[in-house]
């Protein structure tokens, strides 16, 4: 047997396996636009369900209350100097509505496709808009920093729905093909304007990086729930990553949509 034959056979088998693996992971050939390729449908109106951190989210908490946030001494120094009236006077009343905090602000969000490559997330609290672009979303060097920053989105399709087994299943030729279902949306946000993680002045810096995973849950009773796992990394103001997972529930329509302006005090 020649070595060449071995290489050819091995290459064929490996290539076949990679193609199958690629198909399993849901990478379509040829690639479709993100809107058409969406493994989950996030569009619609969603209301935040405030069952956690209520007294830090539903009201403006007292100054100096930092429980739950792994802030640094530098951050505490900034937060200790928090003056909401001063922020208001300086036109910075949206500091607590930036992307790292916005999904935890009580309110409703409206998710739509702006185009085939862009999801738009409007929030009625603070009347903010997040733009989630699929593909490279690198900011030019002189791009102004904003409350919502620049967000790069990516679908994470589910792998095939094959039960985890300690040895492979017996699959016959007539076994139906494996169809992956579900998936997640990953969003990485940078180029932020410095703001507040919490309404009472706990800061994040302009170098903060936020990574989110948006996971949808369609229940048998028709309800749809959305969990957004949110990780904020900011070596200047956070000792460890800030990790929370706000929850939303889908609403039938926008009848409760209630845009309100940013406020430093309420």
């Amino acid at each position: 047997m020649s070595r060449g034959l071995v290489v050819v056979v091995a290459s064929m088998v490996l290539a076949f396996g990679l193609v199958r693996l690629d198909a399993q992971r849901g990478n379509p050939q040829p690639p479709r636009a993100p809107r058409a390729a969406a493994p989950i449908d996030l569009t619609g109106y969603w209301v935040s369900i405030v069952t956690q951190d209520w007294r830090w989210r539903m009201v403006t908490p007292r100054k100096g209350d930092y429980q739950g946030i792994p802030l640094t001494l530098a951050a505490a120094k900034v937060a200790d100097a928090w003056d909401p009236a001063k922020d208001e006077a300086a036109g910075q009343q949206c500091k607590s509505y930036g992307a790292p905090a916005l999904m935890s602000v009580p309110g409703r969000i409206h998710i739509t496709w702006q185009d085939d490559n862009t999801l738009k997330v409007d929030a009625d609290a603070g009347t903010q808009t997040r733009v989630l672009r699929f593909g490279a979303a690198q900011a030019a060097a002189n791009t102004p920093r904003t409350w919502q920053g620049i967000s790069e989105a990516q679908w994470l399709p589910a792998r095939p729905n094959v039960p985890l087994q300690l040895r492979p299943a017996e699959r016959t030729a007539d076994t139906p093909p494996i169809r992956p279902t579900g998936g997640s949306l990953q969003v990485v946000t940078k180029n932020l304007r410095a703001g507040y993680l919490r309404k009472n002045g706990v800061p994040y810096s302009e170098n903060a990086v936020m990574t989110e995973f948006w996971d949808l849950y369609k229940r048998p009773n028709g309800e749809e729930w959305l969990t957004i796992t949110t990780q904020v990394e900011d070596p200047l103001y956070l000792r460890t990553a800030r990790l929370v997972a706000p929850v939303f529930k889908k609403e039938a329509d926008g009848s409760k949509w209630d845009p309100t302006p940013c406020s430093s005090t309420w």
Partner: protein, 336 residues
């Protein structure tokens, strides 16, 4: 001749090895390991005995919560009762996942989340078995089945006993259903729990917790519980049942006194978890004076913990449960 046979065997072995490596990836999402609770929310933390903020209790659920005296846990017959399944999310300890293989086929039969001191283990049956009859016995851990939906494990628990949730602030009944969603992203695991209870909840109670895979777990193993004499008064008079009569809870106003939050919000209800509830608060809430104690301040250089005794690395108080510092009320004298 011999060489030719050896070569054929080698070729067959090579093809088999390469083919196996190219086979479908059967491992869907592996949850095996110990997942440390990040704990940056107030799931298990509350300083005040009456804090039902954002909890969608029905009137019955609220009445049950406000009648509860935590000294009841010192009664001999209650000392070894465990918390209900939602304690996996609101409790202080890591989730320790193991796979349970079928002993014959070695296929995945169930996932097991190990119990800890006061929480029973959770076995998530993955073999499609049905839940028992509604008249079947209930256990502390309940009966749980699971199924994969894409990369998400969805598990449903029924048949659990009544128990107190969120650090002794309210109860779930033995008719409650808890649905978990386990979403793994790298070494981060997000668990979303939706508790539905026709007895004590007016709407589903949704909570999340984030965990990180760890190789240095701080577990609190499940061990046998032995009742002891915790409160002499309960042993001297076994007929005492610690409780509060309606409207008589002594800590009813603590949250309002500490944070200026109106009492109507403190006692919870489904309306308190929706954003529009803020409108009812706007003219009633006045920001209290700055926080002076137990505020979660970062540690000073050279110190390991933040301000306040018993705060974890995020600066929050420890979640409740036996093994944690007793909250106010535990061990207090029962009502006379």
């Amino acid at each position: 001749m011999v060489n030719s046979r050896v070569n054929r065997i080698r070729l067959a072995a090579l093809i088999a090895v390469v083919a196996l490596s190219a086979a479908p990836v059967y491992a869907q999402i592996d949850l095996t390991g110990t997942w440390q609770r990040v704990g940056q929310n107030d799931n298990g933390a509350s300083r005040e005995p009456v804090d039902l903020l954002g909890m969608p209790f029905s009137p019955d659920g609220r009445a049950k919560a406000l009648s509860y005296d935590i000294a009841a846990l010192s009664a001999t017959e209650r000392q070894c009762q465990m918390y209900p399944p939602i304690y996996a999310i609101v409790g202080p300890f890591p989730l320790q996942f193991t796979m349970v293989p079928d002993p014959v086929t070695q296929k995945l039969l169930a996932w097991k989340i190990a119990g800890w001191g006061d929480r029973d283990e959770t076995v998530i049956w993955m073999d499609g078995r049905p839940h028992p009859s509604k008249n079947a016995p209930h256990s502390h851990g309940g009966f749980t089945t699971g199924a994969w939906e894409g990369d998400t494990l969805t598990a449903v628990t029924t048949h659990a006993k009544l128990g107190d949730i969120k650090r002794h602030r309210g109860f779930s009944s033995d008719r409650a259903t808890l649905t978990y969603r386990f979403n793994r992203h790298g070494d981060t695991l997000t668990v979303t729990g939706i508790l539905e209870d026709p007895v004590y909840m007016a709407e589903p109670y949704a909570l999340t917790e984030v965990y990180r895979l760890t190789t240095n777990p701080n577990n609190f193993p499940l061990t046998a519980c032995e009742p002891i004499e915790e409160l002499p008064s309960l042993h001297e008079d076994p007929t005492l049942v610690p409780h509060y009569l309606p409207g008589k809870h002594p800590a009813m106003n603590e949250v309002t006194e500490h944070y200026n939050i109106p009492l109507e919000a403190v006692v919870g209800g489904p309306e308190t978890m929706y954003p529009e509830y803020r409108k009812t608060l706007k003219d009633k809430y006045v920001m209290p004076p700055p926080c002076k104690e137990g505020c979660g301040r970062p540690p000073a250089p050279g110190q390991g913990r933040g301000q306040g005794q018993g705060l974890n690395q995020q600066g929050e108080p420890p979640a409740g449960g036996r093994g944690a510092a007793p909250p106010a009320g535990r061990g207090a004298a029962p009502p006379q």
